[in-house]
């Protein structure tokens, strides 16, 4: 089940909120867990046993580790860590590379489970003896299917409060709606524009190929950041506070900064549980390069098993390494706009490997961007695509930066009462358009659901 569908927005969400409000505080964890499992079953009932098995296995595995430590058997605790983590990795690899079908969100809930295991082992957070609360962390429906990957250490103390406040409800609703607008009004339409480019198949002008790459890059951002906003907004409505997962990544000045702004929770996960344990920056250049290669190889593999994803991961790793060891601060004097454009170019070309079905397909598309089809840079099809999607492109480019947010903040600061009225009116209009979009659309799934 997706957040941007009529059944979720007008049935599951209001019913869940109502039940959450009227349920006594002691029973709220159980209610949330039941809702989470129902949510998962609605989208992928066939793999519900896999999710339940993962939850139970990690619940017992973490308690095993904790109790070995308490009884002084550190070696057995380490063995328990290896077996628990190993089984999780095998579980993930099995479903991603060998099984016919993959449980929805398997990468996300397995990484959440691993975070729980590591945080307890490294004493960042205590083990949770209550199975309902432990299960709720791993299966919490706002973040279950497509993140953000909230680390257990950042979540466990929120498992006590279960308080619903007006400010959280309003702030959460606002964020949820912003995410919905991003998904339905921008991402889905950019997806349609990209599909129009794809439908041209072989034989397109270079400009058309460039437009296709830009459409996809913007679609991916609004799709994923929109979903993250909805997930974080939903969590906020229920009283859970999660950090943002995107921070205007397309205004980054270099690739390293891009990865501090794009899918922040995944980067933080790899940094906390892979890069730093391997030694991080606290070692020689050679070892640092190895650590970076390991992280970026895993990042690529996390997204997909085919060579084009592995290449994409190493492609980003190469730029991060170049920035750290070769470029350093050499380009600090270059105007920010140019640096930002250059970073966007690197990142957008990287997305070609993301949407192409194969490595060969990706290089073929890049060849088309360089005029390899012999149809010049700009033709009638390019003009048509650009003309019919100009407003959408303009809205997407503006929306991918902080301009709208900053403008809104300034207006609210200057005209607080009037700004509230205007805000509500704008949100109402956008919501009507979004509902129309949801009703009318051929359902387009979130791109990151496939992970």
């Amino acid at each position: 089940m997706s957040f941007s569908t009529i059944p979720f927005v007008f049935l599951f969400l209001p019913v869940s909120l109502l039940l959450y409000v009227i349920t006594p505080r002691r029973a709220k964890p159980l209610l949330l867990l039941v809702l989470s499992l129902l949510f998962y079953a609605w989208g992928d009932a066939g793999h519900l046993p896999a999710l339940v098995a993962s939850i139970l296995f990690n619940y017992f595995g973490v308690l095993e580790i904790d109790r070995w430590f308490r009884s002084g058997y550190d070696g057995r605790a380490r063995t328990a860590l290896y077996t628990t983590v190993g089984a999780n990795v095998l579980f993930l690899c099995f479903y991603k590379y060998f099984a016919g079908t993959m449980p929805l969100g398997v990468s996300f809930f397995t990484f959440s489970a691993l975070s729980y295991v590591f945080d307890v082992y490294y004493d960042t957070a205590p083990a949770e003896p209550n199975i309902i609360r432990a299960a709720l962390y791993m299966a919490f429906f706002p973040k279950l299917i497509s993140g953000p990957i909230v680390q257990y250490g950042d979540f466990f103390d929120q498992l006590e409060a279960f308080q619903l406040t007006k400010s959280d409800l309003f702030a959460g609703t606002e964020l949820f709606l912003i995410g919905l607008f991003k998904k339905v009004l921008l991402a889905d339409r950019l997806g349609a524009a990209f599909a129009a480019v794809q439908a041209m198949g072989g034989g397109m002008a270079a400009g058309t190929a460039w437009l296709g790459m830009i459409f996809y890059s913007l679609q991916l951002y609004f799709d994923f950041s929109g979903y993250s906003d909805m997930a974080i907004g939903l969590s906020r409505m229920l009283g859970f506070h999660f950090d943002k997962n995107f921070d205007y990544p397309y205004r980054s000045l270099n690739v390293s900064e891009f990865w501090r702004r794009w899918h922040i929770s995944l980067g933080a996960w790899f940094r906390t549980y892979v890069y730093i344990p391997l030694g991080g920056n606290r070692c020689g250049s050679g070892r640092q390069l190895f650590n970076l290669a390991a992280v970026w190889l895993l990042t690529g593999i996390w997204h997909g098993s085919t060579l084009n994803f592995v290449f994409w991961g190493l492609y980003h790793g190469l730029f991060v390494a170049l920035e750290r060891f070769v470029i350093r601060d050499r380009f600090d004097g270059v105007p920010r706009a140019l640096r930002s454009l250059a970073t966007c170019l690197v990142v957008f070309v990287g997305w070609v490997f993301f949407f192409s079905g194969s490595l060969g397909g990706a290089f073929g598309y890049i060849g088309e961007m360089l005029g390899g089809d012999g149809m010049g840079f700009w033709n009638g099809a390019t003009s048509y695509l650009f003309r019919t999607n100009f407003l959408l492109l303009a809205a997407a480019v503006v929306g991918s930066g902080p301009v709208v947010h900053t403008l809104r903040e300034n207006i609210v600061a200057r005209y607080p009462t009037r700004a509230m009225t205007i805000s509500v009116a704008i949100f109402a209009v956008l919501l009507i358009f979004s509902i129309a979009g949801m009703v009318n659309a051929t359902y387009s799934t979130f791109l990151y659901f496939q992970f």
Binding site: A53, F57, S71, A80, G100, T101, M200
Partner: protein, 163 residues
């Protein structure tokens, strides 16, 4: 062994019981996961013969992209027949997947195409709408079939038999 140690051992036992039960469930369920080793040409021949089209033309990769938004290079093989005229609703798409993870995107593309066609003919093409609403969409594991034809049921049976 201390009480905590005994408790740890008990947790380990529970952990492995879950693991074993899950493995048993996977093995039991594996028999239901269907992947056919039938040759693509045999399956194609069977369904195209059974569909008994009257007015279609064969489509290439470019047409697959245009009509379904699918990348032909991503799949092991495919066959596409689409209407020869704007008033036709006969159509066939047979795809052999390279990877089972492609299943959902192909099914979604077929659903989208079907919806587009029904919308196109609504109001002035009742026969076409009826044919499309009776179309067969079959999930054969690594083979996916969509056939809109007066003989859709026959084609569906031929597909199952061929696998």
């Amino acid at each position: 062994m201390t009480q905590s140690g005994t408790g740890a051992a008990a947790m380990a036992v529970c952990k492995y019981i879950v693991l074993v039960l899950f493995a048993v469930m996977l093995i039991a369920g594996a028999s239901g996961v269907r992947q056919s080793d039938a040759a693509f040409d045999d399956v194609r021949s069977a369904v195209v013969t059974a569909a008994r089209f009257e007015a279609v033309q064969e489509g290439d990769g470019q047409m697959l992209r245009r009509l379904y938004g699918l990348d032909p290079s991503a799949y092991e093989d495919f066959t596409l027949y689409y209407p020869a005229t704007n008033m036709g609703a006969e159509e066939l798409l047979l795809v052999k997947l390279t990877d089972m993870s492609q299943r959902d995107e192909v099914l979604a593309a077929i659903e989208s195409r079907l919806k587009t066609q029904i919308t196109t003919f609504e109001g002035y093409g009742p026969d076409q709408v009826a044919m499309l609403e009776a179309a067969a969409v079959e999930d054969g594991g690594n083979y996916i079939l969509f056939v809109s034809s007066a003989q859709a049921d026959t084609a569906r049976r031929a597909f199952s038999d061929a696998l």
